[in-house]
Subunit: 132 residues, 2 copies
């Protein structure tokens, strides 16, 4: 059943808090990588580039986990387990710029590579764990 | 094949860098939680308590991933994928005190709970990804 992010942990999405994203490799083992993240009131969002390992993983198996640690208190965190319900190129370039503003304080994402296709990934939350 | 941690990323284990540990839930979906970690030259080590979700997960399926972000540079990280090869109670109380010294600067782990059995978990590295 879908769940909503606990109100007392939503502040994490307003901070420069990375999500450590867990996905599943082709053989089922976990992969974990840090990503920039956002929350739109329903979905947890992250932005990646087409063809990356995490993109290939979520297209094969949409089950993910995101552990988001408070940058102001390493002993306070939220884990969101859920599933990817949408992967879209629409708006993804504007979205990575918005995330660059949040995380780097700049208007334009500075690490864009030639030919790179950005993606917005929407995760429907299904379960939470919290500490702190 | 076992691999060794790249020399230019071993400094992460001397810093107060958390590992975001990915394990597998009973249904195969990923779980990610932050843990204190260490490296003994061969194995990546972390300490947990008996019966916790991550303990139950690694006893069922030893495949794990640990993403370790540099606390001094959020854009520098090491991901270690590997498998749990040993879970032991031996020395685990002294080990959690050692980790408390590293992460908190105190001689004794302050969050011990009555009846809690601490465990040292040894992960044999099999694959690395790095950024930065």
């Amino acid at each position: 059943m879908p769940e909503t992010i606990p109100a007392n942990f939503r502040d994490l999405f307003t901070k420069k808090a990375f999500a450590n994203l867990g996905t599943l490799m082709p053989d089922g083992r976990p992969q974990v990588t840090p990503v920039w993240c956002d929350f739109d009131g329903t979905f947890v969002l992250f932005n990646t580039a087409k063809g990356r390992q995490k993109d290939r993983n979520i297209r094969r198996d949409p089950r993910v986990s995101l552990a988001i640690v408070d940058p102001d208190n390493a002993y306070r965190y939220l884990e969101v387990r859920g599933r990817v319900v949408e992967i879209t190129e629409q708006g993804a370039d504007a979205d990575i710029d918005k995330l660059a503003k949040k995380y780097l304080g700049v208007d334009t994402y500075p690490h864009r590579r030639a030919g790179e296709v950005r993606l917005i990934v929407k995760v429907l939350p299904e379960h939470f764990s919290t500490m702190g």
